[in-house]
């Protein structure tokens, strides 16, 4: 199998503009890494799920992959080509080949445009010649299971699920090789969620699209992804085959994450590993292993120096001194 996407030690850095920060604390830095040292690989035709805490840097990493956010360090290769070294026209072409589904489905849709013009907008943005808007929009609406009538609606006239389908349609507009979907099923009921995921799976099988899916829903991850990468505070802390990680999570954060998912049976007592302590901020990273402040299995060495990110089997890698 070939890798379609390869990230090595990627860092994305944001400046802190706030003067208050400096006022309260003179030692606070002028910038921080929202993504730090992230390395992931996506094989052609596969689905990689990116999960992790809110604020962990998932969306930022996705934006970096789509070329919408600059990386400060590291490398991103698409089909073996470094994207930071591409010419302007190559970048355009590269970005055309990626279908991006924004995290906030309704908010990212311009309120003054009809669904028809929204889903065909990528063709205009990328100046694709000779597009029959009617035909394209009909095809796309059909692909995502919306009736023709929806073409004339405006975003505020859609339910959350309908807006999400519009997002899928938009991402598909230019026959992408790679779909980056940020929370594609957040806000959907379980049946429509199933439909969207089945739709993405089906499109993947038919069109051989590779996918990077960001999601909080571990049940979604379990059923739809081949590989999984778990992020904490901008770093990838564990990565591997989905089935393997679900059957044997090794990093304590992964363990906590997998045990947290609430069960639909009110009588099922969850056997949880609860995380205590404050969520650290990327502006002020803890010493040593950055998870040590909340780790239920913390030992003295953990706060001293950061554990390396190492393979523990052929397909599983993690950064922890004391894996489970």
């Amino acid at each position: 199998m070939t890798d379609i996407l390869q990230l090595k030690n990627v860092c994305v850095r944001f400046r802190i503009k706030s003067a208050m920060g400096a006022l309260f604390d003179r030692t606070s830095p002028a910038s921080f890494d929202a993504v730090r040292d992230a390395s992931i690989t996506l094989e052609e035709g596969q689905t990689l799920a990116l999960v992790g805490e809110s604020g962990a840097g998932k969306s930022t990493l996705a934006l970096a992959i789509t070329g919408l956010e600059r990386i400060a360090e590291g490398s991103i290769q698409f089909e073996g080509r470094e994207i930071s070294q591409m010419q302007a026209n190559e970048i355009r072409e590269y970005r055309r080949g990626i279908g991006y589904m924004w995290q906030n489905a309704i908010g990212s849709l311009s309120p003054r445009m009809t669904v028809r013009s929204l889903i065909t907008e990528p063709a205009r943005i990328h100046r694709v010649p000779n597009v029959n808007t009617r035909e394209l929009s009909s095809k796309l609406l059909d692909l995502v299971g919306l009736s023709e009538e929806f073409g004339d609606r405006y975003p505020h006239q859609l339910s959350g699920g309908q807006a999400r389908r519009v997002g899928v349609a938009r991402a598909l507009a230019l026959n992408p090789r790679l779909i980056v979907a940020d929370e594609p099923t957040a806000g959907l009921d379980v049946s429509v969620q199933g439909e969207i995921l089945n739709l993405l799976n089906q499109l993947q099988d038919e069109l051989k699209i590779s996918m990077l899916v960001i999601t909080h829903n571990l049940n979604v991850v379990r059923h739809t992804s081949d590989k999984i990468a778990i992020m904490y505070l901008g770093r990838i802390v564990e990565q591997g085959d989905t089935a393997e990680i679900f059957s044997r999570p090794r990093h304590p954060y992964t363990l906590a994450l997998l045990s947290a998912s609430p069960s639909p049976d009110p009588d099922m007592q969850a056997d949880r590993i609860e995380l205590k302590g404050e969520i650290p901020s990327p502006i002020n990273r803890p010493s040593g292993c950055e998870f040590h402040t909340r780790c239920p299995f913390v030992k003295e060495t953990c706060s001293e120096s950061p554990p390396p990110f190492e393979a523990v089997s052929e397909s599983q890698a993690l950064s922890c001194y004391f894996p489970r």
Binding site: S18, A19, M20, G21, D25, S28, G52, E53, S54, G55, A56, S59, N104, I106, G107, G145, R153, Q157, S159, G160, G161, Q162, E183, A186, G187, L188, D189, V190, S191, V192, Q193, G194, E195, N198, N201, H216, N219, V220, R222, H223, T224, A243, A256, L257, A260, S261, P262, S263, P264, D265, P266, D267, A270, R272, E274, L275, E278, I279, S281, I283
Partner: protein, 322 residues
């Protein structure tokens, strides 16, 4: 059930659209007892957000309430003046919207916004700031002192979600309405927010109307659950009754579709076949009949009435009277 705080009776809401009148809510009956947490579940587009907008009277311009009452603390909310309603929203009823940016202003810092919503408060600015910082901390925003001066675009989606929860709680309302407040959160934070909401409920004795698609979250957090389909309530009762003995075929299917309940890995997830019916041109029968796996002759011609399954557990389905 104990004394009700919110009582919705026969509520119907329409949207005017180009093709006609879209009947988004039809004859809704819901009770929120004092001090309880009531969950609302249902397919995307079934009218959950419309229900909330009706309660807080922030329906879009093309919407109108065609029937019903919404009793809250002795008054019909639908009869209040705009001014009275505004006060109600600021003090007695708080909302966490589905999209956090609905309640946040992109050009103001979080500090400005959190101070602004305390304008009724007589306390000093520094007291207000401290209250805001404490609130941010309680929803898990690290380094609140440094972060509070930042603008919404400098936060992640889940952080904005938590900030809007913090802002809704600042007023200590008697009714907190939350439209899918945990969808942007990972499982560990979701659990943390559930515990936070439970603690707040226990501490202030407020009631919570909680909209979510996550059946697990409803099961863990709520006392009662209301199941909606295409603008109608099809089943309601305690979470235990409804989730253990679902009486309506839609509820049964919904529970079957939850991937949390599917043990073996599958690439094709179960769905409820068919589409949500056209709410502009309604047929005369049961709203779920076109997708139901056990239709009776009556189902296509008569709208089923609400029937009790067991005490406090009811469903609108002809199977119950067959």
């Amino acid at each position: 059930m104990t004394e009700p705080l919110l009582t919705i009776r026969n509520l119907s809401v329409d949207y005017r659209i180009d093709t006609g009148r879209l009947q988004a809510l039809r004859q809704i009956n819901i009770d929120v007892p004092k001090g309880s947490i009531v969950g609302v579940v249902g397919e995307s587009g079934c009218g959950k957000s419309t229900l909330i907008s009706s309660i807080i009277r922030l329906l879009p311009h093309n919407a109108s309430v065609s029937n019903g009452t919404i009793e809250f603390e002795g008054a019909n909310l639908l009869d209040l003046s705009e001014n009275e309603m505004r006060t109600m929203r600021g003090t007695r009823i708080s909302i966490v919207f589905q999209d956090p940016m609905t309640s946040l202003n992109p050009v103001l810092s979080i500090e400005q916004q959190m101070t602004h919503i305390q304008y009724r408060d007589q306390r000093s600015t520094s007291d207000k700031l401290n209250k805001s910082l404490a609130m941010l901390e309680s929803v898990g925003i690290a380094d609140p002192r440094k972060r509070i001066t930042q603008y919404p675009h400098e936060y992640s989606g889940g952080m904005l979600q938590r900030i809007s929860i913090a802002m809704a709680l600042q007023a200590q309302p008697s009714l907190l309405i939350a439209d899918e407040p945990t969808t942007a959160l990972d499982a560990t934070l979701e659990v943390q927010i559930i515990h936070l909401l439970k603690d707040i409920q226990a501490e202030f004795g407020c009631s919570i109307l909680f909209i979510s698609h996550h059946l697990g979250v409803i099961a863990e957090l709520c006392d009662y659950v209301v199941v909606m389909y295409a603008g109608e309530v099809v089943e309601q009762g305690t979470v235990r009754d409804v989730f253990h003995n679902p009486a309506h075929p839609y509820t049964q299917k919904l529970l079957e579709c939850d991937p949390a309940g599917i043990q073996t890995k599958t690439r094709i997830l179960p769905v409820i076949p068919g589409e949500i019916p056209d709410l502009v041109n309604l047929s005369g029968g049961c709203i779920f009949s076109s997708r139901c796996h056990c239709v009776l002759p009556d189902c296509e011609t008569h709208i089923p009435q609400r029937r009790e399954v067991t005490s406090g557990h009811s469903a609108n389905c002809h199977l119950l009277s067959a």
